[in-house]
């Protein structure tokens, strides 16, 4: 901190205030007397449970798909790589609702892939699977971005040394490449989880909204605003707490 110029504290402070103030304002509106009752209602618990389940599954999917993708993007110099990277990052800039529409066109009943699945009797829309798909779609770029940057920075010299010592490519990947970028992998996973947790637009467009199946916490909050704004605020507060807890947990492990 001592090496930073003094004046930087002002915009930094403003930045912090900008983010923290709305959250504090929201916390101030919570009806603490009814907080417990609002949270333990059937619809709230169902939404919370569904959100945690789907977000964890989506984070896992992001890792399974994102790690290989990041590796290919970081290590390939083929000409199509730049284009592929741009495509993979599109969900970052696409409005989530548009993402949901795109998912419908792909996996919906009349979608590119969906129509074939429909024939086989498999329907994706309106299912919890659809929720996971929607969340993974919007959260994947976060993992790929974090990881690809770290992989590029780490360079290939450790991998070359490992190969020189007789390690096969698979072993190099699991024992050298990935351990060296573990911090970035963890933070990328946490980011994906957080993004999946807060996902709304793509979910509601593609998966629909039904308690216990597809109505995740953000959808429940949005719905509660119609009839019971206090419940919406209370649930929002819970969502915020979960996100904070996850981020703190991941950060603590990184420091250790």
């Amino acid at each position: 901190m001592r090496t930073l110029p003094r004046w930087i504290l002002l915009p930094a402070g403003l930045g912090a205030l900008f983010v923290v103030l709305p959250l504090v304002a929201m916390a101030a509106r919570v009806e603490w007397g009814e907080f417990g009752a609002l949270l333990t209602s059937e619809s709230s618990l169902s939404a919370l449970r569904l959100s945690l389940q789907t977000s964890l599954t989506s984070a896992a999917a992001c890792v399974l798909l994102g790690v290989p993708l990041a590796l290919v993007l970081a290590r390939s110099d083929a000409r199509g790589t730049g284009l592929l990277r741009a495509l993979v990052l599109i969900p970052l800039v696409l409005p989530p609702v548009v993402g949901g529409i795109a998912l419908l066109y792909a996996f919906g009943r009349q979608g590119l892939l969906g129509r074939h699945l429909e024939v086989l009797g498999l329907q994706i829309a309106f299912s919890t699977t659809a929720v996971v798909l929607a969340q993974t779609f919007v959260a994947l770029p976060f993992l790929v971005l974090s990881l690809e940057g770290a992989l590029r920075t780490a360079g290939t010299r450790y991998e070359q040394a490992a190969a020189s010592l007789g390690a096969r490519p698979s072993r190099v990947l699991t024992h050298v490449t990935l351990p060296l970028v573990l911090p970035a992998l963890l933070s990328g996973t946490v980011l994906s989880f957080a993004r999946a947790l807060g996902e709304f637009g793509a979910t509601i467009t593609f998966a629909g909204s039904l308690q216990g199946t597809t109505r995740t916490l953000p959808l429940e909050i949005y719905l509660q605003r119609e009839s019971d704004p206090e419940a919406a605020v209370a649930l929002s507060f819970v969502l915020m707490l979960v996100a904070i807890a996850v981020i703190l947990l991941a950060h603590r492990r990184r420091v250790a």
Partner: protein, 254 residues
């Protein structure tokens, strides 16, 4: 939610305040004036038509609409959004306004809307009446928390049926979209929505719809910058001309 720039609305309101107008004083005749109308999403088409008419009849007046879910709109007004007129899709949300004492005049019921079964063109699931909605098909309805959802629940009870929808949507537009895209085999929407969707959707009437008629109230908002102009708009809507326009889009009589 479709609206023309909240920022513009706020800026316009700010400009008017800066121009020294408190509540209620009339502007000089040649200053351009904006009327802010907050209306339920289902009213978009008829109101835009009426808005054009209003602008034609009133020189230097622009009507700016905010179309959204009624509960969203009333919440914005309660938080201080500068609306001159508020038209709600149900009485429940209008009551929120009156309970807060923010109405400038008593709300007037100006139109109604009833439910209708919407199926994709070609009726792939062979829906005939309300009872067939309980079959093995993808039924999409509004969530009970929104006006069309409350109506659906009433209709369900009146018919003695129990629906098992695959999704309970946030707004009637979302229900309609799921039907037009073919994801849903059937949905319960308003008559006006079926009319709006044209060829993409087929509408099926059912008698129980009469049990759950949604009444739309309208009123001017307290502390508005243009109370007289606002009242004139309300009068246009409730007059024969407004009623005809609304009927043209499928709305019922008041």
């Amino acid at each position: 939610m479709r609206r023309l720039s909240r920022v513009t609305a706020a800026a316009a309101a700010g400009a008017m305040l800066l121009a020294g107008c408190g509540g209620g004083t009339e502007d000089p005749a040649d200053d351009p004036v904006t009327l802010q109308v907050f209306a339920a999403a289902s009213l978009q088409e008829p109101f835009e038509e009426l808005g054009e008419q209003f602008e034609a009849e009133h020189e230097d007046v622009t009507v700016e609409f905010s179309f959204a879910g009624s509960s969203t709109l009333v919440e914005q007004i309660l938080q201080g959004a500068p609306a001159d007129v508020f038209a709600s899709a149900d009485t429940k949300n209008m009551d929120k306004l009156t309970e807060a004492g923010l109405e400038a005049a008593d709300p007037v019921d100006f139109t109604t809307n009833t439910l209708m079964i919407a199926v994709p063109a070609g009726n792939p699931a062979g829906v005939t009446d309300l009872a067939s909605l309980t079959g093995a098909l993808n039924l999409v309805v509004c969530a009970p928390e929104v006006p069309c959802g409350a109506a659906t629940a009433t209709v369900e009870e009146a018919a003695g049926l129990e629906f098992a929808p695959v999704s309970e949507e946030q707004s009637v537009t979302d229900v309609l979209n799921k039907v037009t895209s073919g994801e849903a085999d059937a949905g319960l929407v308003y008559v006006t929505d079926v009319a709006k969707a044209g060829d993409e959707v087929e509408g099926i009437e059912f008698p129980e719809a009469q049990e759950a008629v949604n009444t739309y109230p309208i009123t001017t908002v307290d502390d508005s910058a243009e109370p007289e102009l606002g009242q004139e708009f309300v009068d246009l809507v409730t007059a024969e001309q407004g009623q005809e326009t609304l009927a043209g889009y499928g709305f019922g009589g008041a």
